[in-house]
């Protein structure tokens, strides 16, 4: 990718209404619809029609063939005026200038170019790309791509992309220099139920780059957190300055590919010799208040946490667990972060004492040591989260009862032998723990995170299922909950230290 791939806006910010035309179009046109189910021109039309888009859908096809029940036209001029905002372009690169001109006449203000044969395809492609950028600029049209896999906008039920999945609606706005990463984040959204507001693959980012999308997300009412995958940052200072502007308004999470590619430089100064690309980028992102994630799952989970939990006002964490070992490793995981295991204040200690038999840990992590009865877990979560010297709570051990219930349900003794009653109790309890964690978080305005590997090993378990139903992330491990919470704490501190909170 060239410098253009970094998406430095050529002349001032792109008008928001052009982004709205792409993310909330009144009507969509697929240019180059195909009758062949393997072609982009078929798949994109299929996905737009199949995912529940409510606006009008049009398509062009050279022969004017019917595709998926849509009567296509051979000529864009035959389409109605003023009903189409977005064109999804699958036609060959050579045809596209004419497509854009014809679309502009119909009032189209956003184009997503899926076609290849541009900047990724040698000098002729680069020239065609530059020509397309100039044309779109002249026509006042947003030009996304080319060579991108598409755009989704679940609040508008729009799935204009050439791959699955169509993620659930939510508040994470995604922009990526790699289409595969869009899919990965969407897959995590589908798995966890923490949904997406907008997602776009920048493709060659000829005219619109990742920072442009993120700047739009900062003002987009559907988006609460921006999540980006970037490989090339081009003019690093301009890139970071723009991300800082976004981070001042909404949380920004960045996964950076090729982090280890730029080695240390030969330099006369020791400082220069130590200045690897990655170290400089890392410092610049910290300074700009951007959360940098090391992996794709860390990136998604940080974004999902920003989208579904309040920021902690401090770093004092109480870990509540029904299982001792997990509490210990959670404390270990915290040692590598800026979070602290809160020292239990005496009044909180006394209050927990009143709820549990004396064998509980009497320390943080609060290991209930199997001493809990029907109402204990909700009560302890409430006590911990509502204490003024506690900033966040991590709850472990949910779902264990339902896991046993499942064995009983699936075993040879079901039903009978009194199994139904205990199974029902177990399953209600786990769902209740999940609900209590959410309620306590709401009531106190503090993050309350629930972690269990059952989120992935047994996603139908009533515990994780109830966390999902509540729109929150059920963390697949305690250490992943710790890493996500650390991102929230760092942002909270970044804002507070700069009087931005």
């Amino acid at each position: 990718m060239g410098a253009a791939a970094t998406g430095a806006t050529p002349a001032g910010p792109i008008p928001a209404e052009r982004f709205r035309a792409m993310f909330e179009p009144r009507g969509v046109l697929v240019a180059g619809a195909s009758t062949h189910p393997g072609k982009f021109g078929f798949v994109s039309l299929h996905n737009i029609l199949a995912c529940g888009y409510q606006g009008k859908v049009f398509a062009t096809n050279r022969e004017g063939a019917e595709v998926l029940g849509i009567r296509t036209v051979a000529d864009i001029d035959d389409l109605p005026d003023g009903e189409i905002d977005l064109v999804f372009v699958c036609t060959p690169a050579t045809a596209n200038p004419d497509v854009l001109r014809a679309c502009a006449k119909k009032g189209v203000t956003a184009a997503f170019i899926a076609s290849a044969g541009y900047g990724e395809a040698g000098e002729a492609g680069l020239a065609a790309q530059a020509e397309l950028v100039a044309l779109a600029d002249e026509l006042g049209m947003l030009l996304a791509g080319p060579n991108g896999q598409g755009v989704v906008s679940p609040p508008a039920r729009l799935c204009a992309q050439i791959v699955g999945p169509f993620p659930p609606a939510g508040h994470i706005g995604i922009a990526s220099q790699s289409g595969n990463f869009v899919s990965s984040f969407e897959n995590y959204a589908q798995l966890t139920g923490v949904g997406v507001s907008r997602a776009v693959s920048a493709g060659n980012a000829a005219a619109v780059g990742v920072p442009d999308y993120l700047e739009y997300y900062a003002d987009d009412p559907e988006t609460r957190v921006a999540l980006a995958y970037v490989e090339s940052v081009g003019d690093g200072r301009a890139f970071v300055d723009r991300l800082r502007g976004v981070a001042q308004r909404i949380p920004v999470v960045v996964v950076k590919g090729g982090a280890t590619a730029g080695g240390q430089r030969a330099a006369a100064s020791h400082t220069g010799a130590l200045a690897s690309d990655d170290r400089v980028l890392d410092g610049a992102l910290r300074q700009a208040g951007v959360a940098r994630a090391a992996t794709v799952e860390e990136g998604f989970e940080a974004a999902a946490t920003f989208a579904s939990q309040p920021l902690p006002r401090g770093n004092r964490v109480v870990v509540v667990t029904t299982v001792g070992g997990w509490g210990v490793v959670t404390a270990d995981a915290m040692a590598g972060t800026d979070l602290e295991l809160a020292a239990l204040p005496p009044d909180l200690m006394a209050a927990i004492d009143a709820e549990l038999p004396p064998r509980w840990s009497r320390n943080n992590p609060v290991d209930m040591a199997g001493g809990e009865t029907r109402d204990t877990v909700p009560r302890i979560l409430e006590l911990a989260a509502s204490h003024p010297e506690v900033d966040a709570v991590i709850f472990l051990g949910m779902g264990i009862q339902s896991n046993q219930a499942r064995l009983m349900r699936e075993g040879p003794f079901w039903p009978g032998h009194g199994l139904e009653r205990i199974v029902g109790f177990h399953e209600r309890q786990d769902a209740r723990y999940a609900e209590a964690a959410a309620e306590v978080g709401e009531a106190t305005g503090k993050p309350v995170l629930v972690a269990t590997e059952l989120a992935v090993t047994s996603p139908d378990n009533p515990g994780p299922a109830a966390v999902r139903a509540g729109g929150r992330l059920c963390y697949p491990s305690a250490n992943r909950a710790v890493v996500a919470l650390d991102h929230l704490w760092r942002r909270s501190r970044w804002l507070a230290r700069r009087d931005l909170a």
Binding site: G234, D235, G236, R237, S269, H270, T271, L274, A275, G283
Partner: protein, 213 residues
């Protein structure tokens, strides 16, 4: 890019508030002996000049000189080690500071990000340890404090082997001084404070190198 001599580098950065030990620039062996007497033994004597960048590698730094005779011998040997390529040279006399902790700080004009400020754990292993933190210049006080927090070896910054904890505000002030220097002197291309010794908890730069455009 040309480098300034150690003395000129220190003079430049000193005006922006980088703390350096009191030292003298002299031309002759007798001048060195007199300066050492005024500074107090032990002293460090170095050969300096605009064309001399990496003194340690060339053996142009003599440490821990405890008497006038030692100073005289060292100064003579240093002057004799000067080569024609070194151009005009001088001798630098400084107090021998004792410190168990060394930091490194500097400026680097990055091709992608422009001018950056760095703080790191110093010493001969600095590049191998690579416990460093960068920020884009100019930096604020908050940025400087967060750079200190970024270092992994926080235990070095607390009370250490009988020495008091590092004065974080003073370290932050060094970083801000570098940032100011870069902002006001557009001709600075790079700078090293290496080492930035921690003496009784306070940072003191005992060597400086500035590259100019």
């Amino acid at each position: 890019m040309p480098t300034l001599s150690e003395a000129a580098s220190k003079e430049l950065l000193g005006t922006f508030g980088v703390p350096f030990p009191t030292e003298r620039v002299v031309a002759t062996v007798d001048g060195v002996v007199a300066a050492a007497g005024e500074i107090g033994f032990p002293v460090v004597v170095k050969l300096g000049g605009d064309a001399i960048a990496h003194k340690t590698e060339r053996g142009l730094v003599r440490l821990g000189l405890g008497s006038p005779d030692q100073v005289r011998d060292a100064a003579g040997a240093l002057l004799a080690a000067a080569t024609p390529e070194d151009g005009e040279v001088h001798l630098l006399v400084a107090p021998m500071l004792r410190a168990t902790r060394e930091l490194i700080a500097g400026l680097h004009d990055d091709p992608q990000f422009g001018m950056t400020v760095m703080l790191g754990v110093g010493g001969v292993l600095a590049e191998a340890v690579a416990d460093v933190s960068f920020r884009l210049a100019p930096i604020t006080l908050v940025d400087a404090e967060e750079m200190i927090d970024d270092l992994s070896l926080q235990s070095l910054l607390g009370p250490f082997r009988g020495e008091p904890p590092v004065d974080r505000a003073a370290v932050a002030e060094v970083l801000l001084a570098l940032s100011r220097a870069a902002g006001e002197r557009g001709d600075i291309a790079a700078a090293d404070l290496n080492p930035l010794l921690v003496v009784d908890g306070r940072p003191v730069a005992v060597d400086a190198l500035v590259e100019v455009r």
